[in-house]
């Protein structure tokens, strides 16, 4: 069982100490289709829970990426900017988007666990 948490906007969060790693879920990557462009938040930027924190584009359309928790961006994943197909091939590991210095740990408790998310994704199918 992973210790990842999931949001209704189809992002995952993995927490290590004060730092959270965030990406989009496998389900989201599948729904988006082949990703060909990604825009990430700059280091030092403060992002608010459920606020826009990036953009992904497939051949079909552009979609906003939101952050499931608030914090300051400490790193973003340049390797997915150079090769966006990594988001499709390995969305929940190599295809991570950015890392945050967590502002408010209690926000994490509002997110879903893996089982809850899988059920949510299956039901919403969006």
């Amino acid at each position: 069982m992973s210790n990842k948490k999931f949001s209704k906007q189809h992002e995952w969060v993995s927490v290590e100490g004060d730092v959270a790693t965030i990406g989009i879920t496998k389900h989201a990557a599948e729904m988006l289709g082949d990703i060909v462009f990604v825009e990430l938040p700059e280091k030092g930027k403060n992002v608010e829970k459920e606020g826009q924190a990036g953009v992904v584009e497939s051949t079909k359309a552009a979609s906003d990426v939101y952050t499931p928790i608030s914090g300051e961006v400490v790193e973003s994943n340049q390797s997915i900017v150079d090769d966006p197909s990594k988001i499709n091939s390995d969305p929940e590991n190599e295809g991570w988007f950015f890392k945050l210095k967590i502002k408010n740990k209690s926000e994490i408790d509002t997110l879903m666990n893996e089982e809850e998310y899988n059920k949510f994704a299956k039901e919403s199918n969006n």
Partner: protein
């Protein structure tokens, strides 16, 4: 209006298609292997597209009909040969485009393939122009599938004897399971290929046969990336009622005689576009880097003057870079002119690119 389904809907579903509503139809946008893979299969092998949502119109008549149709379609219909196809338009009074179409001379008269979103309106326009002199049928019992890609001719020949001898933009009647089908060598992907008009009751059987022989089903997603790489227009985006064929850089589609003689709806505007200074022109746009410029993105000159906007844009899998089309002021339309695109409030460099982005290499 209720969403319609093509005769192949259930078959698409069984192949794992994802659907989206398009021009009033539930159409397959992609299959499990995805748009980029589907695109590459079409460029290297053979792909099957369901384009049954498009209108298949038959107008019955002889020389009189050609004379009447030339008044609304600016191509040579008086001299077109039997089974020959032409890319053309229905033009409006202002020289704009009601629809782009493929017209083919058939034994009974003319067969015209129309865009799905426009077909009912086109029917009215044609009916109004022709009156009751000619029988006009918008077929409901025919499907249309496109087989596209370098392997399509050898695969189709195995099933339908004689298609190999068809020349590009020519067609003929063939038989499949004792029923008439009509095949033209044409398409909208920049590849060699065929469009097959076939009765609804046979289309699934025929599609299955091609798929079991190694052809892959391709969705509308890849159809869009393929046509954009080939520099082809999508009606309602790159051309519409307010763009003239001249502004759209489609002058080649109006034959020499028609350009000179006119005699069709909207000719005065089209003539002045040809003889005077054009204000804008449809061009290819190649962004620097990976940024994708989609419909509506504004185009600026290097000195920050707004000069136009993007009408379609995506990622081109065969050229492995973003590609786009749009209209710019005529003075900025020369290939390699540096321009600026504004995407989500940020400015990105790009250049005018001579279409098409992808040129077929006919080497075998």
């Amino acid at each position: 209006m209720e969403t319609q389904k093509t005769a192949l809907y259930n078959y698409h579903e069984s192949l794992g298609a994802k659907f989206m509503p398009f021009a009033g139809y539930e159409m397959p946008v992609q299959y499990p292997y995805g748009i980029i893979e589907e695109h590459k299969i079409t460029r290297s092998n053979a792909g099957l597209f369901d384009v049954s949502h498009m209108g298949q119109l038959l107008i019955e008549g002889n020389e009189d009909l050609a004379i009447e149709l030339e008044k609304i379609i600016p191509t040579d219909l008086k001299t077109i040969k039997l089974n020959q196809s032409k890319y053309s338009f229905l033009t409006n009074e202002d020289g704009g485009i009601y629809d782009d179409l493929i017209v083919t001379k058939v034994k009974k008269g003319f067969s015209i393939i129309l865009n799905a979103a426009c077909k009912n309106n086109d029917f009215k326009i044609i009916k109004t122009a022709l009156g009751n002199k000619f029988m006009i049928t918008l077929h409901k019992n025919l499907s249309l599938i496109a087989l596209q890609g370098p392997k399509s001719s050898e695969i189709l020949e195995k099933n339908i004897n004689g298609v190999l001898s068809l020349k590009f933009m020519n067609g003929n009647k063939f038989t499949y399971k004792d029923q008439d089908i009509y095949i033209t060598r044409s398409g909208y992907t920049g590849e060699d290929g065929f469009e097959i008009s076939i009765p609804n009751n046979l289309v699934e059987d025929f599609a299955k046969k091609l798929i079991t022989q190694g052809v892959k089903p391709i969705g509308l997603g890849a159809r869009d990336t393929l046509r954009l790489e080939a520099g082809l227009c999508l009606y309602g985006h790159d051309i519409n009622e307010s763009t003239t064929p001249i502004e759209a850089n489609l002058k080649w589609a109006i034959s020499k005689r028609r350009r000179k003689e006119g005699g069709f709806v909207g000719y005065s505007k089209i003539k002045s576009d040809m003889n005077g200074q054009l204000t804008r022109l449809r061009v290819g746009v190649k962004p620097e880097g990976k940024i994708i410029a989609r419909e509506g993105v504004k185009i600026f000159s290097k000195d920050d003057q707004e000069i136009g906007s993007i009408t379609s844009g995506t990622f081109g899998p065969s050229v492995n870079s973003p590609i786009a089309m749009g209209y710019v002021k005529y003075n900025f339309s020369k290939p390699n002119t540096k321009i600026i695109l504004e995407v989500r409030g940020k400015k990105y460099g790009a250049k005018i690119y001579e279409l098409p982005f992808y040129k077929k290499s006919y080497a075998r």
